[in-house]
Amino acid sequence: MSTVDERKKSKMEIEIAHLTKVYRGGVCALSALSLTIPTGMFGLLGPNGAGKTTLMRILAGILRPSSGDLHVGECDGTTWQGQKTIKQFLGYVPQDLGMYPDLKIDEFLNYIGILKGLSDRTMRQQRVEYLLEMVALSQFAKRSIRALSGGMKRRVGIAQALLNDPKLLIVDEPTAGLDPEERIRFRNLLSDLGNERTVLLSTHIVEDIAQTCPRLAVMKSGQIIFQGTTTDLVNIAKTRVWSVTSATRKPEGNVIIVSTINRGGMIDYRIIGTPASEAGATLVEPTLEDGYVWLMNSSQGDREAQPSHSKSV
């Protein structure tokens, strides 16, 4: 019984209800947003300007919401006291992570460790060494942060976030600007971390979510327009994704062209929607990106409305 209770206690579910954030000047970044984020990896997808970073910053205690409710575990994230408590078990990797360029990697991590409340020097040192090992930076521990590549900086970023062994890890656009190998390495690292804690991964890169998160939410204009599993989002585009090969003209009809591959004389189009003629068009299995594109387009007006013109994305 006690094991069940402990497991329940260690769960870090986030409950957001009618959360609104209006900046000075009347810009509404979040509009009555409601969302439940369970323990494990959770993806937050949306175009630039959708309000993802604002939501992340509110969750991390950087911003305060204008109205609405926010509970992280048992803490009320709309109060100072609640935010203070959340910071004790929070790990945060901002979109644009800055570091003190004059410090070495281990010095920087040690400093952040102190600011996270790890006051025991020996334990802090051990934690820093463990995390450097984990993000494969042990051999660069004495290297100046000024001399690090973008990927290495991201790894230092994740290491600093894990210093206090957080129950909640918020990662904002972690793979932006990384090369494919670094991106894969980073995704694998995040997936490993999601076993024991709530990891909220915010990105506009669909592939990152597809490879790491079983559940996700899609944001647009400060609102949640989809919440569910990745399979649910893929299924939205089921029977709507076609492959069309044409020698000359673009496919006609109410379609969105998601890819164009020129093979010399012939061009392969991948389209979402209803082609004007099904002759020459083959129905194909949708991907998460197809589901996302269909969702974003259909949410422009009525959720069920079809795109009115052939267009590229």
């Binding site: 910071k87 901002p94 003190y100 010095e107 102190i114 600011l115």
Partner: protein, 265 residues
């Protein structure tokens, strides 16, 4: 509480280290000290090497010489201290680490105070070494350590209060003022409010107890008239000046902490 103290000392340590490793600190200080030495070489050499019989400091005893040495350091070097500290707070925003720092359990006030203590201590290392150089020269000449208590007292009463005052404003004011503008305004204030003689017929606060030059402490505590505008100071006005400088230092730091809380709310 112990965690907050640990966070404070952590900030002090790392801010000290970062400021001390800053090349600009040493370049600016060495250049300014070199310029001061070049302009005032006669009086400096007279002060340090001709304790008796010199034209300019004929009547100075070693104790008076070390007090005058502290006065001299406080004349122009605080300008460099103020300028070198002015970018410390805006730097966190410039290098984009402020967002991360806001998500940490360490309070902003703890970090502000840690930054003040750490970076001020590091910035004061070159002027302190310069002060010690003068002290060393005087000690060698006097062949006695009897000068040390006066030297320590002069350091604590003349050198430190002014520097602490300047440092507090340099850390807090750039929170709401673009730091290059602050540097310009601060330099202008220094010449107008500290070095300008009232004889110039321009209204100035250079002879008030508000001056961080340390003239009131120099004359009030040690009976040595300081460089700069002439003032008539007593022991009481020396204490008043010292208390005012330290009080204003604490006040501006508290305002800074309050301002950070207000900005967040």
């Amino acid at each position: 509480m112990s965690t907050q103290i640990s966070m404070f000392w952590g900030t002090v340590t790392y801010e000290f280290r970062m400021q001390l490793h800053r090349r600009a600190l040493w370049i600016v200080m060495v250049l300014l000290i070199g310029l001061i030495f070049y302009w005032q070489r006669e009086s400096i050499l007279a002060l340090l090497f001709q304790l008796r019989g010199s034209r300019m400091h004929a009547s100075l005893s070693p104790d008076e010489a070390i007090v005058s040495w502290a006065d001299g350091i406080n004349r122009l070097l605080p300008i460099a201290v103020g300028i070198l500290l002015a970018d410390r707070f805006p730097r966190d925003r410039q290098i984009k680490i402020d967002e991360l720092l806001l998500t940490l359990p360490a309070g902003q006030s703890t970090r502000l105070l840690g930054k003040y203590v750490g970076s001020l201590c590091a910035t004061l290392i070159p002027p302190t070494l310069y002060y010690c150089l003068g002290l060393g020269i005087l000690l060698v000449q006097t062949h006695s350590l009897a000068l040390l208590p006066t030297a320590l007292l002069a350091f604590v009463c003349i050198f430190l209060p002014g520097m602490m005052f300047v440092g507090a404003f340099a850390i807090v004011c750039p929170m709401f003022l673009w730091w290059p503008i602050y540097c310009f305004c601060f330099t202008a204030y220094w010449f107008w409010g500290n070095l300008l003689s009232p004889r110039q017929n321009i209204p100035t606060i250079s002879t008030t107890i508000l001056t961080p030059l340390g003239g009131y402490m120099s004359q009030g505590f040690f009976g040595v008239p300081a460089y700069g505008p002439e003032i008539q100071a007593t022991l009481l006005s020396g204490f008043a000046s010292l208390s005012l400088l330290l009080g204003l230092t604490i006040m501006i730091l508290l305002i800074g902490c309050g301002l950070l809380k207000w900005q967040r709310s």
